[in-house]
Symmetry: C2
Subunit: 491 residues, 2 copies
């Protein structure tokens, strides 16, 4: 297996695309903008799903399923929402095909035109709030804490595997509450869940913050987000949680009777993460040799590669490997014994490196004699010879060390690439020279935000939740500002 | 909570519809033919998914994800397939909406017409085999053992919750093999997996068999199926597994190099079960009071209802209940303690009966004194007073008994409702009088099958895999036949 990836330093974008394809994560399909998530990539996504789903259930949510299609008129019911989502979307206009009368294969049957077009959901607020109207009568029916795992479609013109695709997989939580306070608490709880997941499982440090008004979800009063920093100095939004106020309740007439018998509109939230997380995972940690996966999300945590010349050695090594595999399985460590006789050890080393397996064990004839194995870490590339006796706990501990090390490395990178600037000149220079997060004062207006975006391509990633009060002047307008916000170029 | 369901004996169809809605399993959406799967219903589906997914993985399969959309031309590539699927389907013709120039809301943008229409997948053979062409070069790449959990759309005109909906959820396995024998073995393995799942988890006895040629999957050489019998004497196809031969490999040019270096077409299978299983689960076991769920698929296996008059008793009972809940959780038994003070015990009893919770525990003041609880079985409605000391293993055993009893009841029902007939008169009389499975000789021709269907609405459900060789005469044509097949009216 020859070197297969371009270097990050030469062409980060090409490196990413090639890595996603060559590590068997995903590929483009014959349908423009729609990707195929390959088994290896999907098994990482499944691990993410399982962990997130557990976290949602621990916080009281239940899964449900709502229709793929949304009647066109629904999109118009919430005034801001329609501006945000009724644009690039897949429109179903007919419900039948027929054989062409001139023998030219199959054609759309013009007689089977829908009275009202259906939109393939770009997000499900409208169809869900239309349903909630019937689910909520009194305060006893609240809160509704519902999540859905689903595919959604947004007809993006420029697509990239995982990061921006016409169809993607996600989860969307949609909750309804009796009070404003409770809905805000839910919105904040879920951004915290996402941040915990990103940091603890993806090993991705994230900044929690609020979006500026112009970056808010269409129909939300407030959008919370988590933002990570990729290795090329660009930011990536990894999850959002929206406080919807009573906007959708009013648009779909969802009221409830309070304890006192008054009719009031319900308060809502929605929140989601998507297969975009796969892109973040790849870009945050991987290197020029391939993927670097955090052990908690790696489908294969340990790979065992046998090195032998004689059949006798092959057999003896296989015995040792199978025994080790079993004892690791008892510790819930997932192990692959790569006993293919069609490939050489060097090829296998490169392949598992490309696929980001956190720990590699090599066993050769000398190891057999000495009762040892060679243990190699994917993250640091360190190798050590370890006694096979008691190796299980060494492996367990090393996997934990790798998880922590990957996180620390990403966090150190972020710290080193977060810059405070106080003038627009500094801002532009820093952005050009290093990228990264740029912390600066902003006057709070959409006009300034828009101008900065036009002139530099940097956007306000968020107003960090932990931003300190600090008097300052907007780098662009010089007007007064009381806290810094984070700018960056972003995916 | 008053009696809410019509009796099965009065209107089985209405009973089913009302039960599905009132037990919070599913409801119709605003989009014709598309259902909403409610949280309680979805939690049952999730249990099914988890068990099936484990079984697929144990048999070596991996999950992946393929696009929702299929280019129209793909459907035409396999000659039989197009006849079966290119009919009632959702057709995406445009990819943008815009504001109406006359201010009439949003309209489809005529400039955003797709060059080739996209079909919302009714099943994914075509897009997947188009992908497999690039995944398979040599025998080393085989077998491909891939499964996908997805939504699919078939524009059915007459829909019923779970049983026939325009959009439904399912899994579709798609495998590729080097030899015919291996593909047939896979097809058979998967129908056995489905049968095991139906019998062991759904407590639904099923007949394994082959479909007649006219009932085969469009594009398959052989379709295996499992068929269950519902309480109204109608059959329900609960899963299918198709041997595709080289049909799709030829249609999409999927070849591989054999060990000897020859180019050969790959052999294929596909297999699936869907949310239809939810309908089968409801119809096979439930009664006039509501759902009867097999414990292995019940989201709540035990419900505890407190009965008290004083606050002191309420508190003491809560302590006992919480303790019991904890000790049952250690045994992985899911328990709900229904401590709502907004509803009376009688209301709660009826509600959990409606929702099919297998075991109900009631705790009252006298139980506190005696160290007992009242244990009520949902399936037999038997009640007994049981010491709370050591009750965990009583509950564990009783859940297992319920699982077995529900299965036995369904199997006895099927046995009692399977009839051997030897003349067409008998056939028609039996079908009219009792319904059920009717075992009869058939001459093997599509003409006879079609005539019988037209005249009686009964179809050949399958040629059972365990059918014995037996000389006989076709009930319709009198021509010779060497085995009996199973007829029934079906969902
Ligand atoms: Zn942000
Ligand atoms: Zn059958």
């Amino acid at each position: 297996m020859a070197k297969v990836l371009p270097k990050r330093s030469e062409d980060y974008s090409l490196w990413y695309n090639e890595l996603v394809k060559k590590a068997d994560l995903a590929e483009n399909s014959a349908v423009r903008g729609c990707m195929i998530i390959k088994p290896y990539g999907f098994s990482i996504w499944e691990k993410m799903q399982r962990e997130l789903d557990d976290m949602f259930k621990e916080t009281g949510h239940q899964n449900a399923y709502f229709p793929l299609f949304i009647p066109k008129s629904y999109l118009s019911k919430e005034a801001d929402h329609v501006e945000g989502f009724a644009k690039e979307c897949a429109v179903v206009t007919h419900y039948r095909l027929k054989n062409d009368e001139n023998g030219k294969g199959i054609v759309v049957d013009p007689d089977a035109k829908l009275e009202e077009e259906l939109i393939v959901r770009p997000t499900s607020e409208t169809i869900i709030w239309n349903t909630y109207r019937n689910w909520v009568q009194s305060y006893r029916d609240l809160p509704l804490l519902v999540n859905q795992w689903a595919n959604v479609v947004r007809w993006e013109m420029r697509t990239r595997l995982f990061l921006r695709t016409a169809e993607f997989l996600w989860q969307e939580g949609h909750t309804a509450h009796a009070t404003k306070q409770e809905a805000i608490k839910e919105t904040e709880q879920m951004i915290n869940v996402y941040a915990d997941f990103a940091e603890e499982f993806m090993a991705l440090p994230v900044i929690k913050g609020l979006k500026s008004e112009s970056e808010r979800f269409a129909g939300a009063l407030e959008t919370y987000c988590i933002e990570g920093l990729m290795q090329d100095g660009k930011a990536l939004q990894a999850g959002t949680s929206h406080f919807l106020g009573q906007n959708f309740a009013k648009a779909f007439d969802v009221k409830f009777a309070t304890k006192e018998g008054k009719q009031e509109y319900v308060w809502g939230t929605s929140w989601g993460v998507s297969t975009r997380l796969m892109g973040a995972l790849v870009m945050a940690h991987s290197d020029d040799e391939g993927l670097v996966l955090p052990p908690r999300l790696a489908p294969i945590q340990v790979v065992i590669v046998p090195i032998y010349k004689t059949e006798e050695d092959q057999q003896k090594i296989a015995e040792v490997a199978e025994k080790l595999k079993k004892s690791l399985k008892l510790k819930r460590i997932s192990v692959k014994f790569d006993d293919r006789d069609t490939h050489k050890p060097g090829f296998k080393f490169a392949e598992w490196e490309l696929k980001g397996v956190p720990l590699r064990i090599a066993i050769g004839p000398r190891d057999l004699e000495n009762g040892t194995v060679e243990l190699a870490r994917r993250d640091t590339k360190e190798k050590q010879t370890v006694n096979i006796e008691g190796i299980e706990s060494v492996i367990e501990d090393t996997l934990e060390l790798i998880q922590q090390n990957i996180y620390k490395k990403a966090k150190d990178y972020r710290t080193a690439n977060t810059y405070k600037v106080d003038t627009y000149e500094e801002f532009k220079t820093q952005l050009e020279k290093t990228g990264g997060f740029i912390s600066a004062h902003w006057d709070g207006t959409a006009e300034t935000e828009e101008k900065i975006k036009e002139e530099t391509k940097a956007t306000i990633r968020c107003i960090p939740l932990d931003a300190k009060e600090e008097t300052g002047k907007c780098i662009y307008s010089g007007k007064p500002s009381n806290k810094r916000v984070l700018f960056a170029k972003a995916y």
